[in-house]
Point group: C2
Chain length 289, copies 2
């Protein structure tokens, strides 16, 4: 089935990317720092009109925090197991050519998890043929998402606030003065990954302070080591003694997570975020048009 | 041996407690918020003169951050294994009746740890006869100290920045709005302890946000649950399937750690901090007078 042109918007907390999609390919892109956190509730209609003025007067599909309680309108979560067809069947329509994609929720034994936005990219990576129907997927970030795909459906997922913990440690407290340097996927990072795999985070992190006091490690390496501890702890909890991980990630985060996965005897296979998002949102458009 | 009266000062980062000690007992106490972090380097002599004016013109032994790079004078660390006699033999003397107690350092396989102040209390608790010569000791706090005592000596120790992580999460980030309530050692705390024992901290913490979004837990319980996750993760890393822990702690922290230890099949035996400090510092005075 041919999909007529439409506009896809990945509208997150701190930024927004809008695409004119033609035949499953990006024909034009608009990037903006106008995320949900800086968009007043009554400004969305006008923002969208401005996007249509740039990209064309087309049907619109939006994903991400735009469908949360701090966004335009709440698009209720779809409970897993769910695949792209389940998501496409439960859009929240603003009008007859403007819809918001729901997020996913997962509840087991009183423990819950949620995602909003990542589901399009993660299932999109699978649709693009880069991920088998049974696989472990990972999208790193402030809140890193780990998804179990079973028979092409998301059956379980875990969010780890790995990136947020790093930001909090960098922003204040006893380690902050040591964490200003950029993070690199070198020896100090890998050493941190192996330490993090002990899964004793609060102690491993204090070790960074002690290493400074005792002069055991060059402080220029402290940020890389700390990032390794946090990412290593996250990866070790997910892959145990090694497993294939399909990363949906770009740039530095892709490099860091791939390095951590390989340090812990796993194998990392990387797909870019944008292509995965376009593949996912195009399929949702096909199924809902 | 009878110890003549002296002044003992526990001088930490954010507060100070000075005691006139007679026959191993507290004869008078001066408490002050004048910690090391708010004391200029050139103000210590004057501060101490004021303490002597209140408590008597006596010999003085100081412990804690007063001996750190941000304190009065650096009292170099004593490497473990070390007992109270090793500490007493390596005081840093300001003048012939004024000394600072050294902290302890521990290095193994390139990994290091340090403590400054807790060693007096932890070894003091053992001297007071409340702790056997081979034991696991714990002093909770911003940086929780866990000490292996072997034949009456500190042979290894681990610091976990458990309290600091809680403070950082409470101070900013996605969980902060949920963590304002006081922490209580009830069902939510114990549930958090069991979750924390999975030692998957970054994921367990995000679960607090997800539980809020999905309405799975009363938000009034979120702070207790979060504290349980952090303390449970710390305790589980130290006691495995259960072990006696000699807590040197007071008040709420003693209750929370004791609850966590018992929830994870350990046994908690509690000694108060002040008595342990006085027992330790009195012995140092005996050995160094």
């Amino acid at each position: 089935m041919v999909v007529s042109p439409f506009i896809a918007i990945d509208w997150g907390t701190t930024n927004r990317r809008a695409y004119r999609v033609e035949d499953g390919r990006i024909a034009a892109t608009l990037r903006s720092p106008q995320g949900v956190s800086t968009t007043p509730a009554d400004a969305y209609a006008q923002e969208l009109a401005a996007i249509r003025a740039e990209l064309g007067d087309l049907p619109v599909l939006m994903a991400g925090m735009v469908g949360s309680t701090i966004g335009w309108r709440v698009a209720p979560y779809v409970a897993v197991p769910a695949d792209i067809a389940d998501i496409a069947a439960q859009l929240t329509w603003i009008d007859d050519r403007t819809a918001i994609v729901p997020g996913l929720s997962f509840t087991r034994s009183g423990h819950g998890d949620v995602m909003r936005g990542e589901e399009v990219q993660l299932l999109g990576a699978a649709l693009a043929g880069q991920v088998p129907a049974d696989a472990l997927l990972c999208q790193p970030g402030t809140h890193c998402k780990w998804v179990e795909l079973t028979g092409g459906k998301v059956t379980a997922f875990t969010t780890a606030m790995t990136g947020e913990l790093f930001a909090l440690l960098k922003g204040g407290g006893v380690l902050a003065p040591q964490l200003a340097a950029p993070v690199a996927a070198g020896d100090a990072f890998r050493e941190g990954v192996r330490e993090g795999a002990k899964r004793d985070l609060a102690a491993s992190l204090f070790g960074i302070r002690a290493a400074h006091v005792l002069g055991l490690r060059d402080d220029a390496d402290a940020a890389s080591y700390a990032s390794g501890v946090l990412i290593g702890s996250d990866v070790a909890a997910r892959i145990g003694d090694g497993r294939d991980v399909h990363l949906v990630a770009d740039g530095d985060l892709a490099t860091l997570y791939a390095t951590a996965i390989e340090t812990l005897n796993g194998r990392a296979l990387v797909s870019g975020c944008e292509a995965a998002f376009i593949a996912g949102i195009t399929q949702i458009r096909k199924l809902s048009a």
